[in-house]
Amino acid sequence: MSKKLRTLYEKIWDAHVVERRDDGTCLVYIDRHLVHEVTSPQAFEALRVAGRKVRRPDLTLAVPDHNLPTTARRDAAGKPIPIADAESAAQLDALTRNAHAFGIRLIGDADAEQGIVHVVGPEQGFSLPGATIVCGDSHTACHGGLGALAFGIGTSEVEHVLATQTLLLKQSKSMEVRVEGDLGPGVSAKDVVLHICGQLGAAGGTGYVIEYTGSAIRNLSIEGRLTISNMAIEHGARAGLVAPDETTFAYVKGRPYAPKGADWDKAVAWWKSLATDPGATYDKVVVINAADIEPTVTWGTSPEDTVAIGGVVPAPESFADASKQEAARKSLDYMGLTPGQKLAEVEVQNIFIGSCTNSRIEDLRAAAEVLRGRHKAANVKWAIVVPGSGLVKAQAEAEGLHEVFIAAGLEWREPGCSACLGMNPDKVPAGERCASTSNRNFVGRQGPGARTHLVSPAMAAAAAVTGRLTDVRELMR
């Protein structure tokens, strides 16, 4: 009997199907559920109204991140400093109350492990290869960097998972994005994923789960793979995946929630078996040459609006599609850019190094490397470094990275989402530019009227030094 050849995605999917219905809808088991304060209050409220319980509080982990201020949260006496915004405070308070009421572990703002859910999950070993992982947040795809099937869900689905530990889903199509070759100097995982967004377009992956393969992906650390998978949604895919390998196992081993003893060996054997079978086919394959990827920036208001740092702002007429021409015109107007302008001459007033895309230790090391012994330019008014978690912060401090940032004139903050979406007080002023390591350059994302240029951590650091978008390779020693 010959067995059907399957992709990594199909193997994880099949292992989690509880029931398959005639119309193709499947009841899918969810192994891990991360909960934050913004998309969960109404889900808990609905459970309460219906008198329902959380089926598996032990598979659920609550972490506040979006609304938390990144300035000091305790005063000198260790007392919590009240949060000024009443609605932010109410959301945070609701998460604490709901976690207690429903018996869910909360990693609260006073805990050393607190951080952005997508940084905390992998860091705690809560997110595992081969697991199905959900969170009420579209960047949940991030955990796919470990080889987990992870995707964002809406509030009704959060409620469904809390109550039943399952979701009703239809299987997506599969796509392989293969990046072959060696990345050049100064080119990071962020540049790779920005390049992919540019190649595929913001909707290119719609309806697909993407597996990132190829030697350039294999050679990345887990931090880099998380960065790539994080932005799967920015090229339309609900989830991204990188097959678990020795790099993955080494990363997961020994983390607080990681399997131990005999379970560990069982886990590794299973994880190894998940790799896409040789000869299995994907519904679509895209091949990218790593040597073609340069340090990349965005010029517009969609993550697909990418260009190599040596390039110029494109003319709207250069796009084939009429609706894209119109969108580009609007983007350039919003961004205050003119066609033909060199990206490397665009001045920036703000620098944001953080977000679930780029706030892990490797990101901070890359930024510090560029900033060591240098100082931010005079025209850069606001520059903050926001570690992804309390543990990343502690590690960075142990390595002295915070001193590099502070000496360079950047602010060293407490962990959280921060200026990625400006739900807390960290916002970019209207009309000003920000070189940002986050994942969305949408209109108003970093604050009303804010102009975002997405870049890698090293590129953000380079922009801080020169006060304009800069090719980091010029500063490399």
């Binding site: 009841l27 913004v38 109550a163």
Partner: protein, 197 residues
């Protein structure tokens, strides 16, 4: 959820095309922690227009909204459905809906009815003066003037709406197959079956 068999009453003849969820409920209302109370922010920008349809007294408390093509496009915020419910709406009729919005509407017990543009135009005309009647059982929309339009609906969604069944309730009724799956996980993949720090 409240079962929907029949919706009858005044219908707000809105008719505008491409109304996105930011128009239905602006983003500054997203920091709430309840589903209730969003009605006050619904269609805020439109309500600033003098003489707008939403504040016309004869449509106060109308259970039906007639919209244009692509209703509910844009961000996936479920607040859009909560805002409509909070306004007292239980049915929206339009030539087309965004997929995410119609999913969210369904999950919250709002019936979305897709009809051809000509039928929608006729209903907008009727709604100026008279009530409209929607019968989910027979999948028809009728008016006091002998108009009769039939619509399609996914049989699963129809059954859920008719019986007031929510997806969570339905899945909970399948607790035994979920338990069986968990038992299988404990035996085969114990490291996934539980999470212990």
């Amino acid at each position: 959820m409240t079962p929907i068999k029949h919706v009858a009453g005044r219908a707000i003849p809105f008719g505008r095309k491409n109304v996105d969820t930011d128009v239905i409920i602006p983003s500054h209302y997203l920091k709430t922690i309840t589903r209730e109370g969003l009605g006050k922010g619904a269609f805020e920008t439109i309500r600033r227009e003098p003489g707008n349809i939403f504040d016309t007294p004869e449509y106060a408390g109308a259970p039906i909204l007639i919209a244009g093509d692509n209703f509910g496009c844009g961000s996936s915020r479920e607040h859009a459905a909560w805002a409509l419910l909070d306004m007292g709406l239980t049915c929206v009729i339009a030539p087309s809906f965004s997929d995410i919005f119609s999913g969210n509407a369904f999950k919250n017990g709002i019936l979305t009815v897709v009809l051809p543009q000509e039928a929608v135009d006729r209903l907008i005309e009727v709604a100026q003066t008279d009530p409209i009647d929607i019968d989910l059982e027979t999948q028809t929309v009728t008016t006091p003037f002998q108009d009769r339009f039939t619509f399609e609906i996914d049989p699963f969604r129809k059954a859920c709406l008719l019986d007031g069944l929510d997806e969570v309730g339905l899945t909970l009724a399948q607790g035994d197959i979920i338990s069986a799956h968990e038992a299988g996980l404990r035996a085969q993949l114990p490291f996934l079956a539980s999470a212990n720090a």
